[in-house]
Symmetry: C2
Subunit: 586 residues, 2 copies
Amino acid sequence: MSKGAFLVRAGRWLPILQWGRSYGRHAAVNDLVAAVIVTIMLIPQSLAYALLAGLPPEVGLYASILPLVAYAVFGTSRALAVGPVAVVSLMTAAAVGQVAAQGTADYLSAAIVLALLSGLFLIAMGLFRLGFLANFLSHPVISGFITASGLIIATSQVKHILGISGGGHTLVDLLAGLAAGISETNLPTLLIGAGALAFLFWVRSSLKPLLLRLGLNRRLADVIAKAGPVFAVAVTIALAAGLDLRQAGVAIVGEVPQGLPPFAVPLFDFELWQSLLVPAVLISIVGFVESVSVAQTLAAKRRQRINPDQELVGLGASNIASSLSGGYPVTGGFARSVVNFDAGAETPAAGVFTAVGIALATVFLTPLLFYLPKATLAATIIVAVLSLVDLGALKRTWIYSKADFAAMAATILLTLVYGIEAGIVVGVGLSVALYLFKTSRPHVAVVGQVPGTEHFRNVLRHKVITSETVATLRVDESLYFANARYLEDKVYDLVAVNPQLDHFVLMCPAVNEIDASALESLEAINHRLKDAGVTFHLSEVKGPVMDRLQRSHFLEELTGKVFLSQYDAFRTLASDLPFEAQIAAK
Amino acid sequence: MSKGAFLVRAGRWLPILQWGRSYGRHAAVNDLVAAVIVTIMLIPQSLAYALLAGLPPEVGLYASILPLVAYAVFGTSRALAVGPVAVVSLMTAAAVGQVAAQGTADYLSAAIVLALLSGLFLIAMGLFRLGFLANFLSHPVISGFITASGLIIATSQVKHILGISGGGHTLVDLLAGLAAGISETNLPTLLIGAGALAFLFWVRSSLKPLLLRLGLNRRLADVIAKAGPVFAVAVTIALAAGLDLRQAGVAIVGEVPQGLPPFAVPLFDFELWQSLLVPAVLISIVGFVESVSVAQTLAAKRRQRINPDQELVGLGASNIASSLSGGYPVTGGFARSVVNFDAGAETPAAGVFTAVGIALATVFLTPLLFYLPKATLAATIIVAVLSLVDLGALKRTWIYSKADFAAMAATILLTLVYGIEAGIVVGVGLSVALYLFKTSRPHVAVVGQVPGTEHFRNVLRHKVITSETVATLRVDESLYFANARYLEDKVYDLVAVNPQLDHFVLMCPAVNEIDASALESLEAINHRLKDAGVTFHLSEVKGPVMDRLQRSHFLEELTGKVFLSQYDAFRTLASDLPFEAQIAAK
């Protein structure tokens, strides 16, 4: 193999070989600037999401170092920023909470195993090119799921703002916990939390326009607005330390180990692996869908392409890297990837620089985090996830499609009431069931000729020429097992109400497939129409469908003909039409 | 309400009111003749299928009396003959065998409860008009399931022919049982069984032609051929009684209670009901599918119609009647219905007459059955079910469609190895999964204009006119969540390899539906093409799809236009075409 051919092949599995060879000074500068901004944004987020997952804060930092390097080597998106994200953190808490108690060593071990399983599953899916499976998560299901998760996540953080204890993974449990504990609200915590919340909402909605009005350039205004959480963190640390708020009952992060993540071998415990397998699969799929949507959106903006199957490998490698360095499941995050892209990141090297930034933070900044109030982190999470909640989508979907609305509403409801796993599983099941239901009762129309044209239209909607001896039914769906008998019923009904009928034509311009069950039904129709003295014809059968019919005995047994166009069929068969109509048809 | 209107409405739920009012002497004679023939056929069948279900022989007779009367009142088919059938008997044995030991009173109680649950489920499905759900059993799955069931049933009866003990509900278990017991084969039993088997196969294949050659009329020859099993029963009873074969180790039916079936209240035991629920659902669906296929075939021959939802009610009532009179699950049988039809049955009254015939038999004939060898009944079953086995269907399906073949082969294999419930559940799952997989990668084609026509065809298959600045992609499938991203990929690939592109047209003549996920994808395509400087158009969008698109914001945001015909689109957009091509296009 020549060196070039080798690089092309290796480049498919190691995208770094493609962009790495032409990496120059200009790209490096852009990547470095983007990395600085993303690092500033990622430090509080990593801490907060670890808290959401029920893990020690440093685990969030660990999950933001090696995974980024692994993605830079194996991923295909130039701008995707991986790390801990809200929904996956919530799913991690739900999954790990079922096998171990929060705060124990077992809990951390289970989270690490979860990352490993998720990584292995993603890589396996990538190697078997199964990225398309993620397509079975319909948009309404994903949207409903994200909205419900956002509501659950926001609710789960209210306890930290109030300074009370509580728990649960469903909205009902969480609200019950808050109701039970609200009388024990800690006032200093509430002041910190509510203050941070108000500040962060203000930063998100009003700071950037204000800075622009003050004459700052757009890029600087952006960086300052993104640094809002860092500012909130710094100020509340100062307050908590200066006023010694710990004595007043404000929960703080406490000791965060200083230094780079340890190399960790995930625990091998067959029972543990078994009980985490299903959650790992769900986390992988949800994470992949979120990540690949972001990556595709950003790639398209620069007319680049990503490869979904290779993305599976990239995310899988990131999760394995996370697991081996004491982290928990990660994926490509929406907000940080957009920031990375907007800040000018050109290649995955920006991710490597970000990893270095986070690593420096774990070495030098962790002592400063001792007095960080948990309420501040909770406020960061609430502001971030509430932007995911999109209840307007419910209304838009209702207007567009009732079936899609049903899937979305069921997903939201089930996720809120029974938790995220139930919500997503039922949502997918319902999407598939509704689709099958719709295609099982396809639209059929009796058609006639539009006078003076070769076109045929629904007799109920248009004034058309029809014949007493020829009936034509157009079916607007592929014929397969779920609608084969429905079609039979429609044909028999039509023949039963038209006693003068000599010819029946099935018009198939929208039939993309006829499976073995539908073939059986066509044979039955042919047979029964023959018994009833009616000849059975087909018209406008597509090439691939015709190819397949020719492999069966159906065409030999067909009492009538297969016409290339419906016009041919009607002109040939409708001998009862008056002369003028025949003329009009020409 | 007028009397007429009342009768029409009541007649929907009680079909007997429709045909009963005009019932006359001529129909009665025809029905009576058919009933005699079916009764003769049904007596040995009822005994045999009860044996197959692991129940006492009289239970088979009980299941052939009241259920027929109930179906005559509620059913819509004029010729369907209900009662115990092979596949449902096998499923009953498998279901009941999991909760009680064969031969115990609990076993019988469970079978009676199973009939009740099945009846309630069928009626509920009928009232909610859920008959269409049976359509999700694709033809290859049903065919594979019936073939595998036939093989299992035939194998399960071999032990009676050999006179050995054995058991099991899968082919593997059954073969293992036979292998273990074959050394204890009872020679007199084998002689009776093999003799009956040879005789019945001869009757089935050769008797009728022989009788016709001997000059008998067709109807009489038919009746004599159908009476073959009765003859075998009579002869082997005489042999067993005369030679006292019981002493020689031949298993006989023994005491059969004389008299009409007892009224039985099914046992209410919550745990029992719960454990029988899933089998009851599967039995109901399989029984309904078998029954409705037969009923439709026979109705069509006389240009009559059946109502599938009312059929559910009819079969449900039959099963409840069976349960209340000590019987087990019943459904419409293929062979006996065809016999009933061929013998001239005109109305469901034939079923009532058959019920009277079977009732007379339970009163007067049961003492004669004492010496009936079980090997004779086993031979009856084997001959009947081997006609269900259709391995040729595997080959035919392979030629027509690999996906259907996969579903059929999997159903056969799983039914043989893991039993009937696993087989049918996996078969349905696989059918749905394969259908979704196919529609998730729809056929798409880049098309160009056929010179001198308004038609557009695949550029790979035809010599067509194309433009450098206009690309048209035709998609041959409804757009929904499972294929929305696939479409995006295809579009982006196409745009990426055509740098001169100004216009992209998506041609939608076969798109019957665009769901919310696909709408999202179209919006994404519109957005990304806009970023890339390409205008996005649609052509040949169907009416209902267009109606729905108008309820969204998509058409406002669309950078291009929606063209009624692809010809309009091409003529308007392809400004780069040479003058001759433009002419050719007119």
